[in-house]
Symmetry: C2
Subunit: 274 residues, 2 copies
């Protein structure tokens, strides 16, 4: 995938430099900001001479003292996770940067849980956040965890928030908004779940996040005074109800082989077969 | 949305502190790392005494000298964009952090462009990246730009890569993988496009990204030696071909009112009406 060198960096297939911040030579150079500054200056000269394009410099939280050095040497921030910040710089002066963007989306699920035995829908009121404090009965919702699939996230959120065990049936629809946290976009997958065979209907709420929860009638769900008819949410709710009575099949999630010579399966979402 | 104070921070509805790094009092405190360290220590004592929970500290690239100070005061990285890094710390010692995760997904599109007049499909070979250098004919693909909708991204990528003008018809399917850049997940929306009425079929490739492009037969597309039958890609390809001849409706994108008292529309994806 990448070309190894004796120095603390590799060259990727796009002509980019990936600095290995765990390499002995990096650790030695990084002992003080002053030493790192001198070494980084030399590396940059080498990379420029070699015709390299983008440089990826990952700095651990414990190496935060090096962030100002990299900034002064022309690096920008690219993305960060709890324990590191990735900084980049683009070397060619005659070509626009092709450094790919950071992750752009949060992905959330909303769970329409239908109890066919009692013809009831599971609704919650949130204790914190944008939906709290305005008597809003809503379906359980939440964000996907890292590496999590949509069906698993929906089942997990319902179990965490209400204690009800469910099984995934279909994605009813999806809303794509551009008003997420930190200026990001968000995809919201509205999912149809059924109460697991033989599971209890007794609700045990997650006290920190949920104010109250209940089994409601389908009419109460569909005629929610907070959900304007014609809005995207009402359109999704209407399809949830049609799904619950078998009038709407929605989007099926299938695990299919990844292909391209790679092992493993991935969820692929398509409409039901005609 | 948030409570203003005379100090350079506001309190959000989750009990969190949002530091305003453009506030005069912040700029004064941030003149040197030493001055910022003393001031930040005082602020933290105030926040703890007030029962605050999470603290959001946004540091501009030009304030990179403050990153080591924040780290020593217990802040971690949360996310970053080109011009800033967001750092956070969680103050309650008796409660787990509820600071939401950073964006978790890249979202990409793959464009199946069908020319109904000539019964041809538009294919490309990439010049750079994972799909390059292995004689792989593929549909044009690309990542969504910030704030971009799926139909717009598909039409834009095709125009950029090949010069062909198209119109959006339907999402054919979606693949959800967990092997994206920087350890993120990715959603890939496979989209059916038609050549715009009266538009030229003449291909003009984007030299920096595309090695070659051509109009191919549907048979060549479906019997791609790089796409194993049974794999997720083959399943999506098969549905593309069925979409092109009207045997598969796919997932419809509709702009619907946002609702919840907010103005504007959002794309909502549902299956076609039965």
């Amino acid at each position: 995938m990448a070309t190894a060198t004796n120095a603390p960096w590799t060259i990727d297939r796009y002509g980019g430099i990936i600095v290995d911040n765990a390499h002995d030579a990096f650790v030695r150079a990084a002992r003080t900001p002053e030493a790192f500054d001198a070494t980084l200056g030399g590396w940059l000269a080498t990379w420029r001479a070699s015709g390299a394009r983008g440089v990826w410099l990952k700095l651990a939280l414990d190496d935060a003292r090096l962030v100002p050095v990299a900034k002064e040497r022309g690096f920008e921030f690219h993305h960060a996770e709890r324990t590191y910040v990735m900084m980049t710089t683009w070397l060619p002066s005659d070509e626009a940067s092709t450094i790919p963007n950071n992750a752009s989306h949060q992905v959330g699920v909303g769970a329409f849980v239908y109890d066919g035995e009692n013809e009831k829908v599971l609704l919650v009121q949130e204790r914190r956040g944008p939906a709290s404090g305005r008597d809003l009965w809503k379906m359980p919702t939440g964000l996907l965890e890292a590496g999590e699939d949509i069906p698993d996230a929906a089942v997990r959120e319902v179990l965490e928030e209400t204690g009800i065990e469910t099984t995934f049936d279909a994605v009813v629809g999806c809303r794509h908004g551009h008003f997420g946290l930190f200026g990001k976009s968000d995809l919201f997958f509205c999912v149809g779940l059924r109460v697991k065979d033989g599971a209890s209907r007794e609700i045990k709420i997650q006290e920190t996040e949920i104010e109250r929860a209940k089994w409601a009638s389908v009419d109460e769900f569909l005629n929610n005074p907070n959900i304007e008819p014609g809005s995207h949410a009402h359109a999704l709710h209407e399809r949830c109800v049609r799904w619950s009575v078998g009038d709407y099949a929605g989007i099926v999630g299938k695990k299919l082989p990844l292909g391209f010579g790679r092992s493993g399966d991935v969820y692929t979402y398509v409409t039901t077969e005609t």
